[in-house]
Symmetry: C2
Subunit: 483 residues, 2 copies
């Protein structure tokens, strides 16, 4: 069920401040420009659109990049193979699992390389939970499968073990094409031609560089009228300046160039204005998450996205912690809350992220899901009417009375409060009797139960055979590559 | 150093919604009223002010309670014995340690009854840290000291081992008087007469009841022109209705009656509009924290406080967890963030709270302090100017360049990012080499270091002798009472 955010966005910065950041982004694009490396087609498209192309460097007059983004829809729908739709943009919020971890960890086996079995587990748990709306993409990196064939197994897992919208490969343009081809087998060529069923998660090679792998994948999805999430990945002080306004302006400039390219390839193709901005420890160079600075940057990104009129990706349950401890949840809650307040529409890494993205945590996944569930209640806001004000309750209970048994409480008992599935609110004595478990230990039981109770969605046998035959052909067509 | 919140408050509800809640609070006070039990003086004062007094029940015409609050200052200063001032109200934020726990816990000794030694430890750590601005009150309950003499040791500890503003006793009017008398010895009668140096933490006996202990303590502080924090303590569904608008309206009604009484005793005495609103597990009756509903209620409280023009107490690092785990920090971050966004001015329980307030956690204290430190940076907001936009950085680094060594980064290196003192951002390998500690284990080292490095502030010897003589007299004047 889609999640709508009925609370107003938090917009702490003045129009003057946001305009200054927009103007600065325009100045970066005009005076420095962006490089599209090894992509003649992109350079040609930009030249034709009025940008100044000098070698691989592309420079834009102020206002041109935003103008080129204007054909991208402010809102669109993704389609699952069960016929359900997921709205992206406006006041809608989609939560996705973590993306890209080469390691997984759990309390039983500890940290280890991720495998295709882990990948399938994450797809299955994501399918089962009502708190994630999208199956994600590279939910972990299945390192037991050859690099050049991994995308086939990943896309198959999303299509076979889930019905939720998903992301395909971006690690090579031809792998993006394979992903789209497999989606076409399930959805049909006609339907896919004008409905978004698959996306690519496109990172800019910040600062201010597009490599041909990313621009190639982006063009493949756009050409098929499918979607992309365009996310500059900037650690302030390394791939961009260390100050917040400068960091945000660079991200804005970079995101606009990717969206502009998508619109030159296929006007109207559905894009998400994304970002992955974070900070680093300036002594060690390590990335840091849920920091004051990343929160302040995230608020700005929300205001910029809405002025551009595009769906926004930001926020996540991010952390640098290696385990699902207090650090993990402090950083995760802060970074997700910043995104929610900023008005995020699309949250990659809503569940399972640990260690700056290097590790997917099974317990962390369950803990993050529990908080996603809570947010479903919170974002519903409040209703102020006579029934919610409940005058009869005071008249019945009176001063010093107990409200537990009064009629108003009885009427609202079942729906008033969201109940966490993992928080322990028992007495110390009861908690001790229950084994004095911390929340990660309780989460360990929960994800195992999710997997035990998973039931695969049906799939048309002919389609399944076609998918498997396609994968088989592709596997035979090239030798395995492991790097 | 005082903390100012330079970010705008988050006000998600419409004027119509807030007006409806205000009107409902007025209706509660008019149609149901509030009981002042065993306090003839309070009843007489309210009668004289135009309220309808029927036995111990006091009813207010719509608008009367708010009108009686109008002489309370919208902003005031508290004074420490080192001459520093702490502004309360406006865009200022004061963080205080936890309050009232009969138990303490740490990783070495586990959970046990709190003692005076624990109390002194907490006062000393609170004095040492720059992230708490106020020494708090009953920072834990020293159960090794007789109940009727405990306040003497507690007030002495605040006055002797700290210089920060503090809270005195409220468990009996005469103990409040003792607390004020001791403060008078340190600050002088004349200074104390027109400067706020001590406060009482006053809970309403919700629903809609004031007992003579609380109203007596409130009157004692107000009479001395000292401050109080007036906090209805309402668990929705038990001491008030289970729906959010009704819960908030009741809290508003109750807080106004306490502030009204203070102003009838001494117009202009400095009060804080407080609340402690939370939810419960509707199956077990256990209090719950950091929930969707408590966040939504907190936002409303902020809007109500500003319309009344009074300093606001709300938010805290609350949790029901028994230990400093992921649950503790999820709930704590959510409940503190709600208060910060709502525009809190005064945060009791900013550090150390566990188990719904039953336990003070030493490790939790250090972890909460680390987050308070981060909030100091976050609430400073951003500046958008040429230097922060840093055009020279892009021109120097260019597309694909590294910003680590560029001049702009060098200029901002030292101040750009706040660094957590507890978060581990190292590699998995380094973290493993360091013992694979979770954040609570790192916090264990930190609070011990804080205590080891504590240096007591100087005190005038004559004043110290006077305090000790006063305590000695009071101790001899009555037999020990243990309940």
């Amino acid at each position: 069920m889609p999640l709508r955010n009925r609370l107003p966005f938090y917009e702490p910065y003045s129009d003057d401040q946001i305009s200054a950041i927009e103007n600065h982004a325009d100045r970066i694009l005009d005076e420095v420009g962006v490089e599209f490396r090894g992509d003649e087609e992109a350079l040609e498209l930009f030249r034709g659109a009025g940008a100044r192309v000098d070698g691989e460097r592309v420079r834009f007059e102020p206002g041109l990049a935003a103008h080129l983004c204007s054909t991208a829809p402010s809102r669109f729908e993704m389609h699952g193979r069960d016929g359900r739709t997921l709205p992206i943009g406006g006041d809608n919020v989609a939560f996705l699992p973590a993306y890209g971890s080469p390691f997984v960890t759990d309390l039983d086996q500890g940290r280890r390389y991720a495998t295709l079995a882990d990948f399938e587990n994450i797809v299955k748990m994501t399918y089962s939970t009502p708190w994630l709306h999208h199956s994600g993409g590279t939910v972990c990196e299945p390192v037991d499968v050859p690099v050049n064939k991994r995308h086939l197994d990943m896309v198959y897992a999303h299509l076979r073990w889930s019905t939720k919208p998903f992301m395909g490969a971006v690690t090579a343009p031809e792998r993006a094409e394979d992903s789209i081809a497999m989606a076409r087998m399930v959805f049909g060529a006609e339907f896919l031609g004008d409905h978004c069923v698959i996306q690519g998660n496109i990172n800019v090679n910040s600062p201010l560089v597009w490599d041909d792998v990313m621009s190639g994948a982006l063009k493949a999805y756009a050409r098929a009228n499918q979607g992309c999430v365009i996310s500059p990945f900037i650690i302030g002080g390394a791939m961009g300046p260390v100050t917040i306004p400068a960091l945000v302006a660079q991200a804005h400039a970079e995101a606009m160039t990717g969206i502009a390219l998508s619109q030159l390839v296929r006007p109207g193709s559905p894009m998400v204005y994304g970002n992955f901005l974070t900070t680093m420890n300036l002594r060690s160079g390590a990335p840091t998450f849920g920091t004051a600075e990343s929160t302040l940057a995230t608020y700005a990104v929300g205001q910029l996205a809405r002025r551009l009129g595009l769906p926004l990706r930001c926020g996540a349950h991010y952390t640098a912690s290696k385990i699902a401890d207090g650090q993990a949840m402090t950083e995760s809650v802060d970074s997700m809350s910043a995104g929610i307040l900023a008005g995020t529409n699309y949250v990659i890494h809503a569940a399972g992220w640990l260690e700056g993205g290097l590790t997917f945590g099974y317990e962390k996944f369950a803990m993050d899901l529990d908080r996603c569930a809570m947010l479903h209640k919170q974002l519903g806001g409040i209703t102020v009417d006579d029934e919610q004000l409940g005058m009869d309750a005071y008249l019945e209970a009176g001063p010093g009375g107990n409200y537990l048994a009064c009629g108003h409480t009885m009427r609202h008992y079942a729906t008033a409060n969201h109940e966490s599935s993992l928080a322990d609110t028992n007495s110390f004595e009861q908690w001790t009797d229950d084994g004095a478990l911390d929340i990660a230990q309780r989460a360990n039981r929960q994800w195992k139960q999710m997997l035990a109770e998973y039931e695969p969605p049906p799939i048309c046998e002919a389609v399944d055979r076609e998918l498997l035959a396609f994968i088989d052909d592709r596997r035979k067509a090239a030798p395995d590559a492991w790097y």
